[in-house]
Amino acid sequence: MNFFNIINQLAEVDPDVMGRLDTRRSVFNSLTSMSKRAAMAAGPALLASFFTKAYAGTTAGDPKEVFNYALTLEYLEADFYNKMIASPYFSTASAAAQAAIRQISKHETAHVNLLKAVVTGIGGTPTPAVTFKSATFASLTSFAAQLQVAQLLEDTGVRAYKGRAGDLLGLADVTITGIGTINPLQSALQIHSVEARHAAHIRYMRNQTPWITGTGDLDSQPHYTGAIPESNTTQSNVNLIAANSITPNTTYSAADAAASFDEILTPAEVTDNSRAGGLIGA
């Protein structure tokens, strides 16, 4: 399966998403010089200001908007796994593989229900459901091809939740009928960690490393790139692969340094046509 070809076929996107992307793209265009990109990779503060710009017009840090964003991605994943289970290729998979997909599907549906309740509970209106584009799904003509997309969805999901953590930071605990008292950021991170378990398992099913080392068969896809790519080896302003950077007389490999940390994707990057944005449709 050539993922880029599939993406190229997806001309029509939700017009609302497209409108938002256009404004965000102009932000990207203003940040194309190498030096600015380098500064962005090094400075979360700068990234935060970039994010605020990308979301000018919407309220950055509005938890209703953040949870609706997460809900959209969960709708996409939940529908994808429903389609996978209903697909004629599902029965070609081993019993263990089928059980794993059912377990993951159960979680994604639970995430949708939880996030709908959270959005409602904090006074918002849950965003309308989205689906995984049928034409794209139809082009995945084997269980293995579907599993590739599952890996991309899960790894993107992990990065997407991280990209909004800053917007939930410091929000007060809220009590939601039927759920109880939650800390918004903790609650989101508990979902994000389950997405990471899914990602690790699907990668393992596909004979990939459970973590992103840069040597995987899909690691060059847009889902692993971005302003801060998964190949990043600088953390907390420390270049982990420089000699003696964190341990006297020790140098770490780039694969280890990159795999030890999962990187964020901004909403603009996630909803870009090359990633989750291109998979949403009728």
């Binding site: 759920i179 393992y204 459970p210 907390s236 030890s260």
Partner: protein, 247 residues
């Protein structure tokens, strides 16, 4: 990292163990005195300060110490498995454990550097813990594949469950530490998933670790400390100063 704050009280603590012993001796003398003069049964028993008590500082540093201890625990376990792998551990599985070791060493060292910015300068570096402080592996069975996987699962599930709790508790305006831990949180979950899959195929996100809402079941700093406590004996870690999450 310039705005990093280090708790002076904590820094002095490992060097001040003699002070603890003196306090402990004085208390023992008090007990002897009370015993000699006869004591009323209603008098509360004096509590001896434990010379092996290590109290983690309040605030962000306490959380960072707690995560440092988790990384120390895992790095110690994986280094041992790397050096003397069980004979029934396959080559592919050894490669996974090698990666696990490398990741945990990176976390341990980065957290060490955050807790002591002078870590890389031998003339200025502080000692975070007493020299004989260690994560002890004696209660694990590390001579079989099943044994090392049970040990790894115990620690990885613990770490994966507490990162989502600890990250929101950080209050520093310095984003670096928070972002670092946020980025490591999902890798902890990946670790936990794969060691679970190796031990019991398909158990990567079983209902024992994921709740009905599809969320990882959380663990508080106190729960983590309780789980690790037997391995750090005779030292006793207190997390009484750490922030308490809502669960």
């Amino acid at each position: 990292m310039s705005e990093h704050s280090f708790s002076p009280a904590w820094r002095a603590q490992p060097l001040g163990r003699r002070g603890f012993l003196r306090v402990s001796a004085a208390s023992a003398a008090t007990v002897a005195l009370v015993a000699a003069t006869g004591c009323d049964t209603s008098t509360p028993e004096p509590v001896l300060p434990d010379p092996n008590l290590i109290t983690l500082p309040a605030g962000d540093n306490g959380l960072l110490y707690s995560l440092y201890l988790l990384a120390l625990a895992k790095a110690t376990l994986y280094q041992k498995i790397y050096e003397t792998p069980p004979t029934d551990l396959t080559t592919a599985e050894r490669a996974i454990f090698s990666d696990l070791r490398d990741h945990e060493v990176a976390y341990r060292e980065l957290l060490h550097l955050i807790l002591d910015p002078n870590y890389l300068d031998p003339t200025k570096a502080a000692q975070l813990f007493p020299t004989d402080f260690a994560f002890k592996l004696t209660s694990f069975t590390l001579t079989t594949r099943a044994g090392v996987l049970v040990a790894a699962q115990q620690l990885e599930d613990l770490a994966a469950a507490t990162y989502p709790v600890m990250v929101p508790l950080l209050t520093s305006s310095n984003p670096y530490q928070r972002v670092l831990l946020l980025k490591a949180a999902s890798v902890q979950a990946r670790h936990a998933a794969v060691v679970r899959d190796l031990l019991a195929p398909g158990s990567f996100a079983n209902d024992d670790v994921v709740n009905a809402a599809g969320q990882l079941k959380p663990k508080t700093p106190v729960e983590v400390n309780t789980a690790l406590a037997p391995f750090f004996a005779p030292y006793v870690i207190s997390v009484a100063n750490l922030p308490v999450p809502v669960l």
